[in-house]
Subunit: 202 residues, 2 copies
């Protein structure tokens, strides 16, 4: 059994592609390097891509929010390094408008956080929070959808919007981890739930 | 209680700094991007550096192996993105010979894998292997020292060298994970052992 899983990482990344300087991602892009590392953590296995993951981000660093969705099932061509992933994010911003799927598996459009949440209300929402219920005690049902911040947290308003829609707070412990490391751990934990930790993958 | 922990990642990275092109790390450097992501996973927390980690790598992509050691306790100035970490690796290769500590917390010298292992024989060795004992069943004693490959595995000879020195095989499951994700999970698992998952960090 494969558990499908969704991740949303809020981003303060820029939405004007010409601002993104691949030589200085942290300084130029509103920390798209953070999002790139989260995308790496969400999808890559050794020599493979997780087909059971969908990654969502809304970039908030421009005039209008831009929604980027990456579907593991269709993702191709991207390498796991920050530069390659960022290049595809940049392309997504350049090409959006003319088409929604800007590269295989990468989709870009003008959509807000609230719209993305509403469109996914068939999933089970989990808000990563240090003071939430321990992931070790949590029973996952349905298709889990995890929400995280980038280097900055979600706003209280965004959190409340999720909580009002049934989101449960889930904790990886009292240490404040990088979002990309949280995603690596959640992926591993869900694999464990699938029983992939003690038997060979088919 | 803080558990000190060491990680070794074998690298096929180049040892001539002029070969490292920061615009194309995967293509130019013998996959130093993999090592950079492992270093990110080993040290970074949200807004902090893990002072209880020492990271070791031996670069095998040149004529002579080069040993780089990073001590969390002394590490400063480096940012968590691949480019910044790689820049410091490049500096380490440029400066080695004239001094051992090439930047705060980063040490470079001519040393082989075997020498590094012998110098650390006071630690408890763990070899990350899919068919090892599950990390969930493992009791950790002493100062754990975890050994991993980069995008390629350690050689049988290297593995045997470790096993002859008491290394135990430890598994994160039957899926083949990226080394950087393994490090993120091991760090998290050891934090859990420290009891950091249910109480606040002091």
């Amino acid at each position: 059994m494969t558990i499908f899983r969704h991740f949303y990482v809020k981003s303060h990344g820029v939405t004007e592609p010409e601002k993104i300087n691949l030589k200085d991602l942290p300084g130029s892009s509103g920390r798209l390097d953070v999002v790139a590392r989260c995308i790496n953590a969400a999808f890559w296995l050794s020599g493979d891509i997780r087909r059971n993951v969908v990654f969502h981000t809304v970039l908030h660093g421009g005039e209008q929010p831009v929604y980027i969705r990456i579907e593991g099932e269709r993702l191709r061509k991207v390498s796991p390094d920050e530069r390659s992933i960022s290049l595809f994010l940049k392309k997504a911003l350049e090409r959006m408008g003319s088409r929604e799927e800007t590269s295989p598996g990468i989709f870009a459009s003008s959509r807000s956080f609230r719209e993305v949440v509403e469109e996914n209300k068939d999933k089970e929402f989990y808000l990563l929070e240090e003071e939430g219920e321990s992931i070790e005690d949590m029973k996952f049902e349905g298709i889990p959808f995890f929400f995280l911040g980038d280097n900055r947290d979600l706003t209280d308003e965004e959190k409340n919007f999720l909580l009002e829609r049934g989101a449960r707070k889930v904790s990886l412990g009292s240490i404040s981890y990088l979002s990309s490391h949280c995603i690596a751990v959640v992926n591993w934990w869900l694999d464990r739930k699938e029983g992939k930790h003690r038997e060979k993958v088919i």
